[in-house]
């Protein structure tokens, strides 16, 4: 176990009471603003003293209020990537990157500066001042600064929230590379479903200061009972592999033996991809539909149904590709007589899957 967290904290009328574990990879704290995500990260970092709690990182106790242990932030060895970058304005990019190294303990394995600078593509910025950087560049430097402090864990508090869509698309791949190339665990705060589906190994879903679901990303995101960002943002995550690129501009994927067709992806055959399938883009059909323009049809079995507050209903379907969520009306669910266990088909248009919802595996 990489990180074990148990926290209780009251702030005005807000009550936080959470227990979760973060295995290696990216653990995303997923929830709306006000659900307690930042409070948790700050308590883990030592920037906030919770009323009660315990934080253990790789066997090292960072906080244990019952035992009177509370390491100050500078002794926790966590690399914190803030939403606003928080680069030191009086230091050059190089000075910012090297800031943490001076304080890292001698026995810490020194981070490979050249490799990190190369990975983040910031080599040409080293002599600049933070004020002369774009938002995306600042955030890349902030990522590098955190990595170079030789941390035992990375904390990232909505590192993309302050960026526009284009800059988000620029930074996301760096976090994917972090997840896949850097061995240290990452605790990542987000309220954006697309980001979660792209990055998360593990999801901890938060609502009003409580954990409403935690586990592998596929499971939590495909659970109709867990919708921390609301049913509108619900959507499952599937893993697939690129099979081939067709001449008509479509890329064929293999998802658990079922072919899926997507607008051309810039990936080589054999490469893995994650896809977010937004629940509201999925149509359900009892029989395998014929004469339909939609190209993607996943056969499956209804697992669970969750009626919403309004006329909607969230249905989860177990398919060979993984769990898929569909948001349909209650009327449709009644017409189709949907019930757990019955066979059903999930239908998706190729063009409905947003490019931002597709990421490397």
């Amino acid at each position: 176990m990489s990180l074990a967290v148990a926290l209780r904290h009251a702030q005005g009328a807000f009550r936080l009471d959470v227990t979760f574990e973060a295995p290696p990879g990216i653990t995303v704290l997923f929830g709306r603003s006000g659900s307690g995500k930042t409070t948790i990260v700050n308590a883990v970092a030592g920037l906030l003293r919770p009323d009660a709690g315990r934080v253990v990182l790789r066997g090292r106790t960072l906080l244990d209020t019952a035992a009177g242990i509370a390491l100050p932030p500078h002794r926790r060895r966590l690399g914190y990537i803030f939403q606003e970058g928080r680069l030191f304005p009086h230091l050059s990019v190089r000075g910012n990157l090297r800031y943490g190294r001076a304080f890292a303990p001698r026995d810490a394995r020194p981070a490979d500066e050249a490799r990190i600078v190369e990975m983040l593509g910031i080599g040409h910025l080293l002599d600049r001042r933070p004020a002369a950087l774009s938002g995306g560049e600042k955030q890349r430097v902030a990522i590098g600064r955190a990595l170079l402090s030789a941390p035992q864990m990375i904390l990232a508090d909505e590192p993309l929230a302050a960026l526009d869509e284009a800059r988000k698309a620029e930074i996301l791949p760096y976090f994917e590379r972090l997840r896949d190339e850097v061995s240290i665990p990452i605790l990542y705060v987000s309220h954006a479903a697309a980001e979660v589906a792209r990055l998360a190994t593990t999801v901890v879903a938060l609502q009003d200061g409580r954990v409403v679901g935690q586990g592998p990303a596929e499971e939590v995101l495909g659970d109709p009972m867990v919708t921390p960002a609301g049913v509108r943002a619900a959507g499952a995550m599937l893993r697939a592999q690129v099979v081939r690129h067709h001449a008509d501009g479509l890329t064929e994927l293999d998802a658990g033996g079922v072919p899926l067709f997507l607008p051309a992806l810039d990936l080589a055959p054999g490469q893995g991809v994650r896809l977010r399938i937004a629940a509201q883009d999925v149509i359900l059909s009892r029989d395998r539909p014929e004469g339909l323009s939609a190209l993607n049809i996943l056969p499956g079995r209804v697992e669970a149904l969750r009626p919403g507050a309004g006329p909607g209903m969230l249905v989860s379907l177990a398919t060979p590709a993984g769990r898929v969520l569909a948001r349909v009306t209650r009327r449709s669910a009644e017409t189709l007589a949907l019930a757990p266990g019955m066979t059903c088909h999930a239908v998706m248009k190729s063009v409905a899957i947003a490019p931002g919802d597709i990421g490397g595996n």
Partner: protein, 234 residues
């Protein structure tokens, strides 16, 4: 040192040199205290904070003569502080060191205000970021806070220095007006104006005063913009 300016009378030159020395030492010695008190007022919440704030600002509001007399009571040879300090060989009464003490006390509120303002402008989030990168509280201060408030410290020092150069009331009350020992530039101007035919020397000193003030101002502007540019990172 001989007067480098032939037109300046020896006594006047002596006063200029003394004033520079007094203001220099007053600024240098009070600067660390100024940073410390500014820190306390800007960042700490403790009982007696308002009292400290009032005490620091008192010399700004009190008539300088009152401040000078209080200094005389406290730091005179028979004073509760002056007595023990004299035993240690530190004498303020009727010495140039006393003039420096008076200048430091009178300039202190201005210095603290400037530093405190710049401290309040430092984003604590940057200090938090430094802490997460492994810097202890003192290292955060040295590597982040201090560089960021440098323009404020400079402004405070210049203000304190200028106030020290111009200090008159408290100085003349506390350490009198002894040529070569405590006769600072303002005291000298005052003395010259008391004697017939002293206007020329007084005018010369006035010119020197204006020149020094102008030079200090330009220097601080120059360093200030450079520092601000460096801190802002443009």
């Amino acid at each position: 040192m001989d007067a480098p300016l032939d037109w300046l009378d020896a006594e006047a030159w002596q006063a200029v040199r003394l004033s520079l020395r007094v203001a220099f030492w007053a600024t240098l010695v009070s600067l660390p205290f100024g940073v410390g008190v500014a820190w306390l007022l800007a960042r700490c919440r403790f009982p007696g904070r308002q009292l400290l704030n009032g005490l620091v600002h008192l010399p700004l509001i009190l008539p300088p003569v009152v401040t000078g007399y209080l200094l005389l009571l406290g730091f005179g040879r028979q004073g509760p502080l002056g007595g023990p300090l004299a035993e240690l060989g530190i004498v303020f009464a009727f010495r140039w060191t006393g003039a420096a003490l008076a200048a430091a006390i009178m300039g202190f509120p201005l210095m603290v205000r400037a530093i405190r303002l710049s401290l309040e402008a430092v984003d604590p989030k940057l200090e938090q970021a430094a802490a997460t990168l492994g810097a202890s509280r003192s290292m955060v201060f040295v590597t982040v806070t201090l560089p960021l408030i440098l323009p404020g410290i400079l402004a405070g020092a210049i203000l304190g220095f200028a106030r020290g150069m111009g200090e008159f009331g408290a100085t003349i009350t506390f350490v009198s007006n002894i040529p070569g020992e405590t006769q600072t530039l303002p005291s000298a101007i005052y003395t010259f104006l008391q004697v017939p035919g002293g206007e020329t020397a007084a005018l010369q000193l006035v010119a020197v005063s204006v020149a020094i003030a102008m030079a200090a101002l330009l220097l601080s502007e120059w360093i200030g913009t450079r520092l601000a540019r460096r801190v802002a990172g443009a």
